[in-house]
């Protein structure tokens, strides 16, 4: 299997297949990150497309000594922040949106492998987590998603967001605390005994 850098070289030579391969490799992480940032599937797809188009137009500026995913996430970060700054009203996911494809609730409730009660509990947890993530401010949300959902290191988050290491660590710590508070207020926790589909 070709490395990302080799695929980039093929793409720069004009191979459409190479461009397609890059999209296939990174469409899920990029789309997931953006969807969880903007909380709207239509905007998320549009933004994700824009990210890839921007990346392809600047592909000759990509330095292969860096991870391609970090470079792409940086473009995704900038596009998402621009989108949020443009004054697009941030949407807090509601129960109605949970049934839409791609929501955390739908993803968590994998009914094909679980009994219905466990699936319902997972769906409930997914809804709560999505709501809690949406309540975070964008920079915290970005840090949480990159670190916990995409497994990015502190250094990678620094590169993507352009923030110093200390700020990234602080943001992550505060974000986690806020997320925990939100989850607790939504009834989750070891002592709350939150019942199924409460």
């Amino acid at each position: 299997m070709k490395t990302d850098a080799e695929v980039v070289v093929s793409a720069l030579r004009g191979s459409q297949d190479a461009y397609r391969e890059l999209v296939k490799r990174f469409e899920r992480p990029v789309y997931s990150l953006i969807l969880r940032m903007v909380q709207d599937p239509a905007s998320a797809e549009d933004l994700a497309q824009e990210v890839f188009v921007k990346a392809f137009r600047r592909l000759n500026t990509y330095d292969p000594q860096w991870k391609f995913s970090s470079w792409l996430f940086k473009i995704a970060h900038n596009s998402t922040i621009d989108h949020l700054r443009r004054g697009t009203p941030e949407t807090v996911p509601l129960e109605a949106a949970d049934d839409e494809r791609g929501s955390l609730g739908a993803v968590l409730a994998d009914e094909t492998v679980e009994d219905p009660l466990a699936a319902a509990e997972r769906r409930d947890l997914g809804r709560s987590l999505e709501r809690a993530i949406a309540l975070l401010r964008p920079e915290y949300r970005q840090a949480v998603l990159m670190f916990y959902a995409h497994g990015a290191s502190y250094q990678e988050i620094c590169e993507v967001t352009g923030l110093p290491l200390g700020t990234v660590k602080t943001n992550l710590h505060r974000a986690r605390k806020e997320l925990a508070q939100a989850m607790t207020s939504l009834g989750w926790g070891p002592e709350t005994g939150r019942a199924l589909a409460s």
């Binding site: 459409q16 297949d17 469409e27 992480p29 497309q49 509990e121």
Partner: protein, 182 residues
């Protein structure tokens, strides 16, 4: 209340451990549990056809497929070229060696023998043809008599009529419709 809870999934266990760790400021445990919670969330795929739409939007033209793009094809072409080169080098001496085995007299002798064999085969074929002709004539000889011809025509007519009757019978059977009484 707890008795009604379903068996905990990994995600549910992780959220409990995470929130418990947050209460006593167990940062490492909280981080680990939250990572585990997010690990149970698979990445979300964009709608179908996403890659095609990106390629279209980026205006990337389709590339003509390069036949020699694959390493296997390039290797095969290289092997063929090497074989061709070796053949060109070795062919003239091999031909000269082979020519050395055959003298002009030998070639003429071989040609004459081949001609004689062909003539012998032709003679055999003609004899078989002659035999077939004789058998044919013997069979057609009685047909020249008017009584035999008339008998043959009558036989043909009878067999045609029988065939026609049989065909009508079969077609009629097939056209019948059977209805289940139930």
């Amino acid at each position: 209340m707890n008795g009604m809870r379903p068996p905990h999934s990994n995600a549910s266990n992780a959220v409990d451990r995470w929130l418990a760790a947050e209460r006593y400021d167990g940062d490492d445990q909280a981080d680990a549990a939250l990572l585990e919670l997010f690990e149970s969330l698979p990445l979300i795929a964009p709608p179908a056809g996403f890659a095609d739409r990106v390629i279209l939007r980026a205006g990337i033209p389709a590339t003509r497929r390069d036949l020699f793009a694959s390493r296997g094809a390039r290797l095969a072409v290289a092997v063929c070229l090497v074989a061709l080169g070796l053949g060109a080098v070795w062919l003239p001496p091999v031909l000269r060696v082979l020519a050395g085995f055959w003298s002009f007299g030998g070639l003429v002798q071989g040609g004459v023998r081949a001609l004689a064999d062909a003539a012998q085969w032709l003679a055999t074929a003609l004899r078989v043809w002659d035999l077939l002709l004789t058998i044919g004539r013997a069979l057609t000889q009685p047909l020249t008599m008017p009584q035999v011809t008339a008998g043959l025509v009558v036989c043909l007519l009878i067999s045609s009529l029988a065939f026609r009757l049989l065909r009508d019978q079969l077609t009629g059977e097939r056209n019948w419709t059977y209805v289940d009484p139930i």
